[in-house]
């Protein structure tokens, strides 16, 4: 690890100073760390059912799959990638020197079938994130992990975090039980809009359904490739159902979606809308306009052979330089060395992607500078 660090050289990271890194993955090392945050009943259940022996890493991110951890970001002790705060500080915070990094914790708590279990463990996960990550580094911010398949419990968990401005976003997996536009989820969006929390939709599936419309693929690489299709489908769902007409201030951030699918999506969505808009009379604007106003995307991975060309083409096609948010996707292996963004991006666009777009997307990032510490 030391060798690769020297080979890269610190200067190459200078351009990232002040970034907002919108996708960092802290890992729950083992369920034991959550037990102190559980109530008596769930502590007993953990003990009786030996729940703490379960490895709740998601099928969407097998621990040892090449994608799940960049080789030079692996932990020396063989621990779960992303489970060490000190390593994240060394690999990202002290190297890229972002102004803020947003933690998106992907863990089994949010996909339990039992709604009560999901609620208890999501709450514990958020508490643990607060104590073991947010409180240890003032640059860190986090997304609220929610039991998304019970709207009432999800709303309660968001309300619980409302006064802690270090929580800047609500996190949902792109593939869950129902399409994300469905009205049963709207109380989540209503509250998120009121609290200025974007809905961060992250790649990953609860595997309630086959990952594709044609069934269960054989290989992990197919599941991962299919994530971008899931983002397309969920955006089409949210647009069609009228989420953005109902909640005009709501922002959605597509996290780890692949990015370059966006052009094909808006072309098709616009054309389809022109043909069938009578079915959805509340959709009064073209989907491309709705996307420009409401949807943002983190930049890693960039699905393109030539990433510079891809970003410039996207800005041209989307007629906007405000859509893309810097991310390293730490510790996932999307790029090598310091190539989080390709070279050659014009300065003004680079600054937009690096931090300005994120500051406009996450109002709480600015407010949290008041260093509000809630009483524990």
């Amino acid at each position: 690890m030391t060798g690769s660090r020297q080979a890269i050289g610190a200067d190459h990271f200078a351009k990232y100073v002040g970034a907002i890194d919108c996708d960092l993955h802290p890992a729950v090392p083992a369920m034991g760390v959550l037990v102190p945050y559980l109530n008596d009943y769930w502590r007993e259940m953990v003990s009786v059912r030996a729940l703490d022996r379960l490895n709740l890493s998601l099928t969407s991110y097998p621990e040892n799959a090449p994608l799940s951890c960049r080789p030079d970001w692996a932990l020396d002790d063989g621990g779960k990638p992303g489970s060490s705060f000190e390593a994240m500080r060394e690999h990202v915070l002290d190297r890229y020197r972002p102004r803020h990094g947003i933690l998106n914790c992907l863990y089994g708590a949010q996909v339990f079938h039992s709604e009560d279990m999901a609620a208890a463990f999501c709450r514990a996960t958020n508490d643990w994130i607060r104590d073991e990550w947010l409180s240890r580094d003032p640059r860190l911010r986090a997304s609220i992990v929610i039991p998304a398949y019970n709207t009432e419990l999800a709303v309660a968990e968001i309300e619980r975090r409302a006064d802690d401005f270090r929580f800047v976003q609500v996190l949902m997996l792109v593939s869950g039980e129902v399409t994300l536009g469905r009205r049963q989820l709207w109380p989540i969006y209503r509250l998120a809009e009121r609290l200025e929390l974007p809905i961060g939709i992250h790649a990953g599936s609860a595997y309630r359904h086959a990952p594709t419309a044609i069934g269960w693929p054989s290989y992990y690489v197919e599941d991962y490739v299919a994530q971008s299709a899931a983002f397309e489908n969920q955006l089409q769902s949210m647009i069609s159902e009228g989420v953005f007409a109902k909640f005009p201030l709501l922002k959605v951030v597509a996290i780890e979606s692949g990015l370059t699918w966006l052009t094909g999506f808006v072309w098709r969505a616009d054309k389809t809308w022109k043909g069938v808009r009578a079915e959805v009379p509340w959709v009064t604007r073209a989907p491309s306009e709705i996307v420009r106003d409401h949807v943002r995307l983190t930049v890693q991975p960039i699905d393109a052979a030539d990433e510079y060309e891809a970003i410039m083409r996207l800005v041209d096609h989307m007629k906007s330089d405000e859509l893309f948010l810097f991310s390293t996707d730490y510790p996932h292996w999307q790029f090598d060395g310091d190539s989080a963004l390709p070279p050659g991006i014009p300065d003004a666009l680079f600054r937009k992607i690096l931090s300005e777009n994120a500051l406009a997307t996450y109002p709480r990032l600015s407010k949290a500078n008041h260093a509000l510490e809630i009483a524990l």
Partner: protein
């Protein structure tokens, strides 16, 4: 002058030669196939009807925005559904649009998705004969597609072998919503039969397999369902590549029909990027996925993308490969593409000819 004005100045019929790769023929009444069905299946259909994995026995799950998803001018004066009158098809489409060859894509009954496999096989056999007797023999510009009951591999292969030597058939028709992803090995005998009979596999939007149209559940609106056929096609392409179908069957040729075009370059790049990262999982995939797609997969053009600028559309064609695009109108459906106006781009005469005619002529080997 707009692009459409330019097109209209060239609208004389004789200017165009067209091969239409997607025409939907319909039956005036279901009795039209009685002559080709065993009595047992006629009785079965009249009692139990179609038996699919969705909620309505006689209707689609997502009602379309026009009756029969059809153009309003496609209804025959003598009655019957759009697409059922050969005379009207000739007058309103084949003659008017300069169609020299038209490929029939029958969709009635979803035979490939029938849960009763014997019924599915019987229907494909009857509908294949119906295409020849009712259409191709009456109109030499038309060609038939071999329908197969894709979930009964033995029945499907037997039907392909039975039709393989018949020049009335130009391709094998599959629907993307198979029970399992199409590249999985249960379907490999179908690909082997295709190569053996020198027929391409065409995958046209459709099918019902019981899986929601997204990995995150069912959509509510036709607006979503219509959009999502493109993502189903992405999954088909990924499955064929990552299962190694093209490594096993290097002569296999596939047409993705009515799946859209805008997603192809980015999806190829996505497959390449993540194959490169995870290639140890799929050692049988020896080359970047986009190379297999470039060599083995063609795409029909309808519904044409409308990116809003000529340059963006030409750039898209460049990135897909001009020789991979096959023109289709989708007659008589509502989202019909007119050969005069479908391409909102500044095409040269030779580029237009290649898209409307030359590529399909070469692909289907009509000049051999």
């Amino acid at each position: 002058m707009s692009v459409i004005d330019v097109d209209q100045s060239h609208s004389a019929k004789s200017k165009f030669q067209v091969i239409d790769c997607d025409i939907h023929p319909a039956m005036t009444s279901w009795k039209e196939i009685h002559p080709f069905l065993d009595r047992r299946w006629i009785e079965h259909l009249s009692v139990y009807g179609s038996h699919l994995r969705h909620a309505f026995s006689e209707a689609l799950s997502y009602p379309r925005m026009s009756p029969d998803a059809a153009r309003v001018d496609a209804y025959p004066e003598e009655g019957g559904p759009p697409g059922s009158s050969l005379e009207l098809m000739r007058r309103k489409h084949l003659d008017q649009n300069g169609v020299e060859i038209g490929m029939l894509i029958p969709l009635r009954w979803n035979p490939g998705s029938q849960r009763n496999l014997d019924l599915g096989v019987a229907l494909t056999r009857a509908m294949n004969t119906w295409q020849v007797e009712r259409w191709v023999k009456q109109e030499p510009r038309l060609r038939a597609s071999v329908l197969v009951a894709q979930e009964d591999i033995g029945g499907a292969v037997a039907e392909i072998d039975a039709r393989g030597g018949d020049p009335n058939f130009t391709q094998i028709l599959l629907l993307p919503r198979t029970d399992e992803p199409l590249g999985r090995r249960r379907y490999w005998p179908i690909f082997e039969a295709a190569v053996r009979n020198n027929l391409p596999i065409t995958i046209h939007v459709g099918g019902t397999n019981g899986h929601p149209s997204t990995g995150g559940g069912w959509s509510s609106y036709y607006m979503e369902e219509h959009h999502m056929v493109a993502q189903a096609m992405q999954a088909v392409m990924a499955s064929l590549v990552f299962e190694g179908v093209f490594e096993r069957s290097p002569k296999l040729r596939v047409v993705i029909m009515e799946g859209g075009l805008g997603w192809i370059p980015s999806f190829n790049a996505r497959m390449d990027k993540h194959w490169n990262r995870m290639r140890s999982e799929v050692p049988h995939v020896k080359r970047p996925p986009s190379e297999y797609v470039r060599e083995h997969v063609w795409f029909t053009t309808q519904p044409m993308e409308e990116p809003g600028s000529s340059a963006a559309l030409l750039d898209l064609f460049d990135r897909i490969g001009w020789d991979r695009l096959l023109f289709a109108t989708d007659y008589p459906h509502w989202d019909f593409d007119d050969p005069r106006t479908a391409f909102k781009a500044n095409l040269s005469d030779s580029q237009r000819h290649q898209l409307l005619y030359g590529n399909a002529r070469k692909f289907y080997r009509f000049d051999e």
